[in-house]
Amino acid sequence: MSAPEIPTLRPERLIRRGLWLSGVGFLGLILVYVLALTYAPVEARQGLAQKIFYVHVPAAWSTLLAFSLVGIASATYLWLEDRRLDRFAAASAEVGVVFGGVMLTTGPIWAKPIWGTWWTWDARLTLTLFLFFLFVGYLALRAAVQDPEERARFSAVVGILGMLLVPFIHLSVYLFRTLHPQPIVLKPSAPSLPPEMLRTLLVSTLVFTVLYLGFVTARYGLALEQELREQGPDAA
């Protein structure tokens, strides 16, 4: 039975900072939309729909970031048994679901005009779907386990196993597709991007990272606040 921890930052400050940071992120998002519509050129073959790329790809980055951090936090938790790592992993998983949702909605909306179909089992979409399911499974497990210590241990195991599943999914999809090449009408994001497109993409990636950090910070603060409240006035 570990002694109640003394939080290094009061939860209210974390929540406030997180909300403010993500608020700044939303201002950045407006900037991204403006840049995408005015600064970045229109792609000749794909038309305006190509610009979904400036939201879809950074969302993918955030989802993958969220997922990797859940995995790393999980592994480190089993080693150090620091509850803060578990709290962070839970926050990152929830935020990962949000960005995964953005990916799984913008992806088909982009695919329909470009490839003529809402869904395709290409590497990126398939992997995102899996990450989404892994996140959901992770959160479902957390909801089903009452004891906080047991929940932390179980989540950590799933986090580690999930992190190691990803390369296998990637490999399976790759092997599958090299043998069953799907007809691709147009390949999005050609390797040589014009500089305006690249810059817009980079700005958007930065914005999405800021959004991730803001969300996770606020979510972490909320989890910490709830835990302290549950421990009651006799804590510390």
């Binding site: 305006l48 909306i109 909320l222």
Partner: protein, 38 residues
């Protein structure tokens, strides 16, 4: 004369709106959770 790019701006608008709604919706959820505990 280059061919005109396809008219698919509707998809772009839809995607941007959906993405914004999801992100903003989550932010509002966080805000509501924060306010509820005051």
């Amino acid at each position: 004369m280059l061919p005109e790019p396809p008219h698919n701006g509707g998809y772009l608008v839809a995607a941007y709106i959906v993405a914004t709604i999801i992100l903003l919706g989550y932010w509002l959820r966080l805000l509501r959770l924060a306010r509820r505990s005051r």
